[in-house]
């Protein structure tokens, strides 16, 4: 497991039914591009998060394919519709097979 990977997500706690909310996500990850060389001139092997998904109650919001050109600590901001109370699940897939996930509940008033 890559060290120090910590997902952070910002979702409003409440919303009106059908409201559009903005979600911000960030995960700490070095996103080694596979282009850099170490002091001895050897290429540092690629190690990135290659996929990110956000779902709400099992329905997909966004599914992102990441390439090495995404910056260190990948950040995404996007908008989602909230039809009812429920839970957002966020999942990140690492090159080394690790999966990081976190979830946030939202109440519809």
């Amino acid at each position: 497991m890559a060290s120090g990977v910590k997902p952070r997500v910002k979702v409003p706690k409440t919303a009106a039914a059908g409201e559009t909310i903005t979600i911000k996500t960030l995960i700490s990850h070095k996103m080694e591009s596979g282009q850099r060389k170490d002091d001895d001139g050897n290429v540092i092997p690629r190690s990135i998060i290659n996929r990110f998904t956000a779902d709400f109650n099992g329905q997909n919001v966004i599914d992102v394919t990441l390439e090495p050109a995404i910056s260190t600590n990948p950040y995404f901001q996007f908008e989602a519709t909230v039809p009812e109370s429920g839970e957002f699940t966020f999942t990140w897939y690492d090159d080394d097979g690790d999966v990081y996930d976190t979830s946030k509940k939202i109440e519809v008033a």
Partner: protein, 140 residues
């Protein structure tokens, strides 16, 4: 011009930019190839996509990019001056409110960022933005 440390820095960065320019065509055609692979050679319309990028990025390691394409099912980002042109693909699901997203990307040199959106009717729209990069990302 007096040869101060500051002037020397300006000169050397100009030199780097000039060398990078020389190798641009190879990368640019890589991007064309990548776009053709995505669209299957379909014609690209313009105007359906809004690509927001800074005109000048001081640090090529984190360049904020925002795309917005109403009616798109997927948006793919390319950077034509990077060693690998593909940057990211956003696939929008049924609960996506607006077909927009923002992220931060790496740019190796001054170059064009291209967003290609696949619309609901299967057509493709694109937008392009030139970003001047002061310090390139991607290490090297």
């Amino acid at each position: 011009m007096k040869l101060t440390r500051r002037n020397l820095l300006i000169l050397s960065s100009a030199g780097v930019a000039a060398t990078a320019m020389g190798s641009l065509p190879a990368f640019a055609s890589l991007t064309d190839d990548a776009i053709a692979e995505l669209t299957g050679g379909a014609a690209l319309g313009e105007g359906g996509v809004t690509l927001t990028a800074p005109e000048i990025a001081e640090n090529g390691n984190t360049v904020p990019i925002e795309v917005d394409a109403p009616g798109a099912v997927a948006i793919t980002l390319f950077a034509d001056g990077n060693p690998v042109p593909n940057v990211a693909t956003f696939n929008f699901g049924p609960l996506s409110a607006s077909r927009s997203a923002s992220t931060r990307i790496r740019l190796a040199t001054t170059q064009n960022v291209v967003a290609v959106a696949k619309m609901e009717d299967g057509s493709y729209q694109m937008a392009k933005a030139n970003v001047k990069v002061t310090i390139g990302g991607c290490g090297g």
